[in-house]
Symmetry: C2
């Protein structure tokens, strides 16, 4: 028996999220089917991040145990033959039997992309949220800085009863704006040790309210204090969000790529 870790990239557009569900096609379900068929034994992967419907990933992680004799490093080739074009394994590797990305000291990076222009651009439609409303990026940057640090993110999450603590540490929240021929691309990059349900999308929705002038950049501290989802901004749409990277710390950290 050995444990194999997959680095999985996907275009989430046509999926009902990561996690296997009674209805709808999911990333996890597609991986389970491809692995079970390919290895000839029932495989159930365990993912690092249960991304929502429509969210993309350049780098999600999944581990599974197998009796296969084939080296884990070779599995990505055969696996990619069996996966649809919008899900691919970019790396497969053997990891220690007890290793699980969710049990490691790690940092995850998400990026949210917003395309601001008078008209939507077909070439930017799949991996960015389009808005024609101008955004004050300097105000958004001032607000973003207030997310960094250890906070109770209750106001920035959709409650899930099983969660015991809403305290998370955001190690980075940076905004860049790149001029494109017919509009601007704003990227909001958020890194942290863990994220509550919908946390990045609510942070982004709140930053957009600041960008539109509906909320002061200084309001973030008060929103944290109120511990009330209703006082933060709306949940930004899934299409703009991408899980971009993982970094592991501690002894024998596993390298992703």
């Amino acid at each position: 028996m050995k444990r194999v870790m997959l680095t999985v990239a996907y275009d989430g557009t046509r999926y009902n999220g990561w996690q296997v569900q009674p209805n709808g096609v999911t990333i996890e379900g597609e991986l389970n089917s491809a692995l079970t068929e390919f290895l000839g034994e029932e495989i159930r992967v365990s993912g690092a991040s249960r991304t929502d419907a429509g969210v993309h990933a350049l780098c999600n992680l999944a581990v599974f145990d197998t009796n296969a004799r084939m080296p884990g490093e070779k599995m990505s080739y055969a696996l990619n033959q069996r996966l649809p074009e919008d899900i691919k394994v970019l790396c497969s590797q053997e990891v220690p039997p007890a290793f699980h990305p969710r049990k490691c000291e790690s940092r995850k990076t998400y990026v949210y992309r917003i395309y601001v222009a008078p008209f939507p651009n077909p070439l930017e439609r799949t991996y960015a949220l389009f808005t024609y409303v101008p955004l004050d990026v300097d105000a958004m940057k001032a607000a973003a800085a207030q997310f960094v640090g250890e906070h109770d993110f209750t106001s920035f999450s959709t409650s899930k009863p099983e969660i015991t603590s809403s305290v998370r540490t955001v190690t980075m929240c940076e905004i860049t704006e790149v001029e494109k021929p017919f509009g601007n691309m704003i990227e909001i990059r958020v890194q942290g040790n863990g994220f509550l349900y919908n946390m990045v999308r609510i942070m982004v929705g709140t930053l957009m309210e600041v960008g539109r002038g509906n909320l002061e950049a200084e309001a973030i501290a008060a929103i944290f204090e109120q511990k009330d989802r209703a006082v933060a901004g709306p949940t930004a749409p899934a299409c703009g969000l991408m899980l971009e990277n993982y970094t592991f710390f501690g002894e024998n950290p596993v390298k992703i790529y």
Copy 2:
């Protein structure tokens, strides 16, 4: 009667090219339908570049004449409501009645993107050609430089009987390579005063042969001399190609954006 010019962006993936055809959905056909419905008169646009099936554009141009009283500058709003999400008008403007982009002194820029990595990346699958074969980018750059200037491009075109001259001037052929997390993105940018049928894709196919070591960088001059399509490389697939930009010269040049 006035003449309106549209700047049109599209994801060419699901289209049978620009030009209206008996079978298959085309960009031109979609524009004609949307304009005819919206303006209430039969409209037939005339395009600047008849891009092939599967080729993308950030900036193709189309002109049409109309009796509509609405200012041309306002038409893009209503038009975009009627266009599918993979075709959008990024700018509409009134131009002189005799103006046609194909009759102007102009330069067109195409970009061809090649994603080189061990595995295809779902997030790069729509607007780039994937290859796992490493490419020698320095050799490709040396070959690319030989395309610049006035040449008879017969060897780099699929013959079309109606063409009278195969002499074209390439004003730029530049290659950049950007490192991405799981692979490299190579961009081949070609600018010129006009292009023969399949010319950019055959230039790219030939540059890839150089990158793979199947052809010497110095061979380009001999391929020009032989005036024979068979001695150049294969036609690179449509998915990697995008019409990126137009520039007009001369008196009262029309500004694209």
